[in-house]
């Protein structure tokens, strides 16, 4: 069974789906473990929030070899790695090779990734949409560090949006390996380390784990229905007999997220943040008609 912290604080009245996803992820962070994360974005925001509230002894490293930093937030756009603020008060400054080798000998417990597409076996595409061989495709940036994270960490967690085009029966291109064709031992046959692989997928709407190396729905957010969750997937996942409710953000979580971790809104305001959700008088949750005003949009690139 998945270990998840009880949310601290009182349930928030207003939040957006991106904030909800980050808060749920923060409660899933395991204390005292190592996380290899892409610099910036939702994975880094989640672990920083977790360190403040739920898992003070969780440690993260980034691709440029920063080990266990206490970053000076906020970071300038793109300056999530090889920068003085992102690397501040680390325990070691290494290199891409050094952190890669640390992961290769088994020091990294978890990796958290974003993705363009994911399939039922947890394979990740960040390279292109379309057909590689025919040349009919739209090219993206490539795996970056994700391939190594997905190969070498003991457990891999994906954070992605809940959209039909993202959950596909077969990814257009395996940039980073999940359970590959889903057969037992497929990763080992491809030369990957034993006992590694996909662990969870978290969207703003739902949480999945894997049963027999196949995606399984285990939790749903209170502002969506099962039909909505399954309707935005291009394949049917397995479904756990009992589903967890992904508790909405608390005021305490949002305060830390909005004021300390992401005060410029680079992750939680700019770009695709999903819908704004409201707690109704009867205690249920649903999307609000108009977005609440207040925080300015800094018009910065989405990634930190």
């Amino acid at each position: 069974m998945i270990q998840m912290q009880q949310p601290k604080g009182i349930p928030a009245a207003y939040f957006n789906e991106r904030e909800h996803q980050i808060c749920v992820m923060a409660r899933l962070i395991e204390d005292g473990k190592t996380y290899w994360v892409a610099g910036g974005g939702t994975p880094m925001a989640s672990i920083l929030l977790a360190k403040k509230l739920y898992a003070p002894n969780a440690v993260y490293v980034t691709e440029d070899g920063v080990l266990a930093p206490e970053p000076a937030l906020p970071l300038d756009p793109i300056m999530t790695m090889v920068s003085s603020r992102a690397s501040y008060r680390a325990l070691q400054w290494g290199t891409m090779n050094s952190v890669g080798f640390h992961a290769q000998i088994g020091l990294m417990d978890y990796g958290i990734l974003n993705t363009l597409q994911v399939d039922p076996y947890g394979n990740v595409n960040s390279t292109l949409l379309g057909d590689y061989k025919s040349g009919e495709f739209r090219r993206f940036g490539g795996p970056g560090g994700a391939d190594s994270i997905a190969s070498l960490c003991w457990r891999t967690i994906l954070m992605t949006d809940h959209e039909k085009r993202k959950f596909v029966p077969r990814v257009d291109f395996i940039s980073s390996p999940g359970f590959l064709d889903g057969t037992e031992g497929a990763r080992e046959r491809a030369g990957l380390p034993k006992d590694t692989g996909p662990y969870l997928v978290l969207t703003p709407w739902a949480l999945f784990d894997y049963e027999e190396r196949y995606l399984r729905l285990i939790g749903i957010s209170p502002f969506v229905t099962m039909e909505q969750v399954l309707g935005e997937m291009n394949f049917r996942p397995k479904i756990a007999p009992q589903l967890i409710t992904l508790e909405p953000p608390t005021e305490e979580e949002l305060t830390i997220l909005r004021t300390e971790i992401d005060p410029r809104g680079q992750v939680t305001i700019t770009g695709d943040i999903g819908r704004w959700i409201q707690k109704r008088e009867d205690g249920t949750y649903g999307p609000v008609e108009a977005e609440p005003e207040g925080r300015p949009n800094p018009n910065l690139p989405r990634s930190w």
Binding site: G65, P77, V82, S83, G94, T127, G141, P143, D147, G191
Partner: protein, 327 residues
């Protein structure tokens, strides 16, 4: 009895030829063992040491402690048919492709957008697939003087099929094991905090594969924020990341990472970063190149006319964190 190494799978991608003995001979014949001053201008360094068709790596990138000024000089000199080691790179790959400098790319990561997408579709640029770490592992192998390196990642991906990697049966454990070809680039560009005139170089902060690229590459161009006396180097030899005898040129380029951050010295120019990232993702790089590269004489002309002393001082003032960046 003939015993053969069992190859279980292999990618079909072309890869930069692997030749450890050839590289040793190059090193024997070209790398100066004597302490010879190597100070020169960016123009001279790029003219002398970057040839059309070279395999090029640069450390870090255009926005993060990278050799941004040297990359602009390559574009200004309109080098052609470069094979790019595009690891951990945001906009530099797109700038070089837009300028027509690149015909092949080994990709770890670059910031995508219409420029590279179009170049690939039109067949002007051929891409081979790797990951950032696999690329630095390949350079590590090149720096070790060995032909290939076993790695525990990359197997099972589609990228593997379009790369130079193979899966062999490891003769020691009997397990399927990925091997990747060593990479000895023709030329490496590395921007550092401090160097002496011979090329002994100090880097403060994190990085990608500065030391490995310096050792693995046939021609190494160091650009540095500051030239320090060799007595200073001898005073604290533990800080020397890159030793002089693998360096071919030293270029003194203060603000050489601009518009990127040089950790401990100056912050990134946020406005400029947002502009060049936007142009990469949405189009308009030709306008960017016209203004920032072709429209100026050199790095100093650019700083003088397009950035200005006031702006540079603001960037210096914004770099408030000094811990770890002072010798």
């Amino acid at each position: 009895m003939v015993k053969e190494l069992e190859i279980l799978a292999e990618g079909e991608g072309e890869y930069h030829p692997v030749d450890p003995d050839g590289f040793r001979q190059w090193v024997r014949d070209h790398k100066k063992r004597a302490l010879v001053p190597k100070l020169m201008s960016a123009k001279e360094a790029i003219e002398r040491f970057v040839q059309d068709g070279d395999y090029l790596v640069y450390e870090c990138n255009y926005l993060q402690r990278g050799p941004a000024a040297l990359i602009r000089e390559i574009i200004r000199q309109r080098k052609r048919n470069l094979w790019l080691g595009a690891k951990f790179t945001w906009v530099a790959a797109a700038l070089l492709v837009e300028a027509g400098c690149v015909s092949k790319m080994d990709v770890g990561f670059f910031l995508f957008g219409p420029t590279v997408d179009r170049a690939v579709k039109e067949g002007r640029v051929k891409i081979y697939e790797y990951s950032n770490v696999v690329m630095t592992n390949r350079i590590k192998a090149g720096a070790m003087g060995i032909p290939f390196l076993p790695v525990r990642s990359f197997g099972g991906t589609d990228g593997f099929n379009y790369s130079g990697a193979k899966i062999i049966r490891d003769p020691y454990t009997g397990q399927p094991t990925v091997i990747v070809p060593a990479l000895n680039p023709d030329v490496a560009l590395i921007h550092v905090h401090q160097a002496d005139v011979y090329g002994n170089a100090r880097v403060f902060g994190t990085g990608i594969s500065d030391v490995e690229s310096a050792l693995a590459s046939k021609k190494v161009i160091i650009s540095t924020e500051e030239i320090v006396d060799t007595e200073e180097i001898r005073h604290n030899p533990g800080l020397t990341a890159i030793p002089y005898y693998c360096v071919d040129a030293v270029v003194h380029l203060p603000f050489g990472a601009y518009p990127g951050e040089m950790a401990g010295r100056y912050a990134s120019d946020v406005e400029h970063v947002v502009q060049v990232v936007g142009a990469t993702m949405r189009g308009g790089l030709e306008v960017y190149l016209e203004k920032w590269v072709y429209g100026v004489e050199d790095h100093f002309d650019m700083l003088d006319r397009l950035v200005g002393w006031k702006r540079l001082q603001q960037l210096v003032q914004r770099a408030t964190i000094k811990e770890g960046y002072l010798p």
